[in-house]
Symmetry: C2
Subunit: 388 residues, 2 copies
């Protein structure tokens, strides 16, 4: 187990009928006027918008709306929101949505106080020194952004989908009401679950040895997500499954699961980001294709870990280590197929000739990964494995 420090200052309010508590929480914090940030309007259909707005009004908290945050959220939107936030002199950000909205909120919160371009944080040219307080009402369980300090934004002019992180952008309060996810489109439930699973994979397969307790926690999260996605595909309003999936997705990336590790691998995420920098692919769908391909390419670096994965997740106990490891990866792909996720780049309508371009884009971050240090050619090989 590796040395670590851990501190997570986010307060979670979890459960049925909790969205209406957002006003109370902002009031406690002393907020007077917030930037209300959301996406393309699904919150107006499912009632979340009305509940939030009423809750703010009850506590006389003023708000300015910025909407239209897209999946794979873009830098121009962040710039626009920072400008409005400054003009309107808001004192906090209320992000109502999923990872895209919350990640955008983080960039806005840190960019608000920074004279240069907020993109500098993503390029590593500057570090946030202050952040607006962030509050969230989560509407899809996937990224874990509601309880961590990272965010991913696409610089659409430069085709860079990159991440930044700072302890300053942990949300102060996040409300997770699983019932608001009853109305999620089927593919968003699937992709959200796969995103959460892949976060666990990034941490679990990172070459750390002897971290039994976090391996146990990781395996517990994976089994729980895999148990409840299929239930939700048949019964989207199953509260217990929504709740188990939601809390699992948060725990997958709230840093507890990363304690005592080497920081994770993150190649699958970086490669997927290059993919969705060019194609408007849902992050979870991209990961369903990339992560297993990455596994096939690197499993020999630590075969015992993939044997453990096969045993603990899929009950595979027969065969050589090699056979068990590969069977575990196959079973994962089989699960993805079963729940209706894409499992090849071809199925995502990626043009084969573009693989080189995607690999070149990823190469900006090479060498990447911890399980195996990947160079551009490795990335290209993984993309080829993923292709069909």
């Amino acid at each position: 187990m590796e040395n670590f420090t851990y501190l997570n200052p986010t307060k979670i309010v979890f459960g049925k009928d909790t969205v209406k508590d957002i006003g109370k929480n902002l009031y406690k914090f002393g907020s007077k006027k917030v930037l209300l940030l959301y996406g393309k309007g699904s919150i107006k259909k499912n009632g979340v918008y009305d509940t939030v707005v009423n809750s703010l009004k009850e506590k006389n908290i003023d708000f300015v709306e910025v909407s239209g945050v897209k999946p794979n959220p873009v830098l121009t939107k962040v710039h626009e929101a920072i400008k409005i936030a400054r003009e309107q002199e808001i004192d906090g950000i209320l992000a109502v949505g999923g990872g895209s909205v919350i990640d955008s909120a983080k960039a806005i919160a840190a960019g608000f106080y920074y004279d240069g371009d907020v993109w500098d944080f993503f390029e590593g040219k500057a570090k946030p020194y202050k952040g607006l307080p962030i509050f969230t009402v989560l509407t899809i369980s996937a990224t874990g952004s509601e309880m961590n300090s990272g965010g991913v934004i696409t610089n659409e002019k430069e085709n860079k989908k990159w991440a930044f992180g700072s302890p300053l952008v942990y949300p102060k309060v996040s409300i997770i009401d699983p019932t608001v996810q009853y109305s999620l489109p089927r593919n968003q439930t699937i992709n959200g679950g796969i995103d959460a699973m892949t976060h666990v994979f990034e941490l679990y397969f990172d070459k750390t040895k002897n971290n039994d307790i976090m391996d146990e926690v990781s395996e517990g999260i994976i089994r729980t997500v895999m148990k409840h996605i299929p239930v939700l595909l048949k019964d989207p309003k199953n509260y217990e499954s929504r709740a188990n999936l939601a809390w699992s997705a948060t725990l997958a990336l709230n840093r507890i699961n990363g304690t005592g590790r080497q920081g994770g691998d993150w190649s699958s995420h970086m490669i997927e980001h290059s993919l969705s920098a060019f194609y408007d692919v849902s992050h979870g769908a991209g990961l369903a294709v990339i992560a297993p391909a990455w596994m096939k390419y690197v499993y020999k670096e630590d075969i015992s870990k993939w044997v453990r994965f096969a045993e603990k997740i899929f009950n595979i106990h027969d065969g050589t280590d090699e056979e068990k490891a590969l069977k575990g990866i196959d079973k994962l792909i089989e699960f993805y197929k079963k729940i209706g996720a894409p499992t090849t780049l071809k199925k995502l309508n990626i043009i084969e000739d573009d693989l080189e371009k995607i690999a070149n884009n990823a190469a900006l971050l090479c060498p990447m990964g911890n399980m195996k240090k990947l160079e551009k050619d490795d990335v290209l090989n993984i993309l080829k494995i993923a292709y069909e």
Copy 2:
């Protein structure tokens, strides 16, 4: 799954060679003069005292010592320390030790600002409204007090071993260096592990339904503790086992594991507290006897949970539900015997005639428990099961 709120503000610094970082952390916090609280001097033998004191001196942080905190820590010591803390105008408490020292620090921290008797908090007659900041250097993994907001103190005049809790007494920073536990006496490693396991039992067996994710986490903690105690009994300086046991014990009771539950049962703890209010029994040893007896008495209240326990922890898959449940409890007792823990009150040298007195003491807190609401006669029955 139940609704919950979760916020844990404790910063954990975990790993090899981290004790020396305590001065730096206090300095960052702005501490000038702390109460240095510890036990009966083991920290002087294993070098922790010197490392802590040097670290304080390096940052010019003044300190006043109060030592002699006993296992099953007592109220008179808390009173003594509050008096000294006030006279010396300290601005924080540095607890160096295990649960007894940290629990005492919590009572001192809250009592420091309270005009009445700090015991009022334990009786529920008053609530802490302010607390001195607490910092800890953990020397034995067991209670989880290093990352939670509760404490247990014995009022020795009234034979009451009771608990209190307040968000104000979460430690600000806790340093967990597994290497300082290399020199622990064998029975303390055993009892610490059993305490951690029993915390998980209290939460796991509390009648909550459909909390798969926390059941998984609970089972992961139990398996990890059960794997590493036997290793440590043969090889007390095995770093990986010390580290896994340490982090598991913290996670067992840092409230994550309690999320989405009904608050836990806690009968085993309350009965054990009555036992050690009269007898100087180590808490973990008492729990090794009481918790399995409690299980035998109440398992029919939720037999499916004990079946799950038998399956997930001991791989028991044959027999009726009743048989599996009972076999699981027997296997737990067998494990306790194997590691050298006492498994009957008789072996703890409890006099049979005292069972009534112990049950009467526990009855002050009746009805107790969530799995089954226990009255005094139930407690007496459990003590009788535990006797031999």
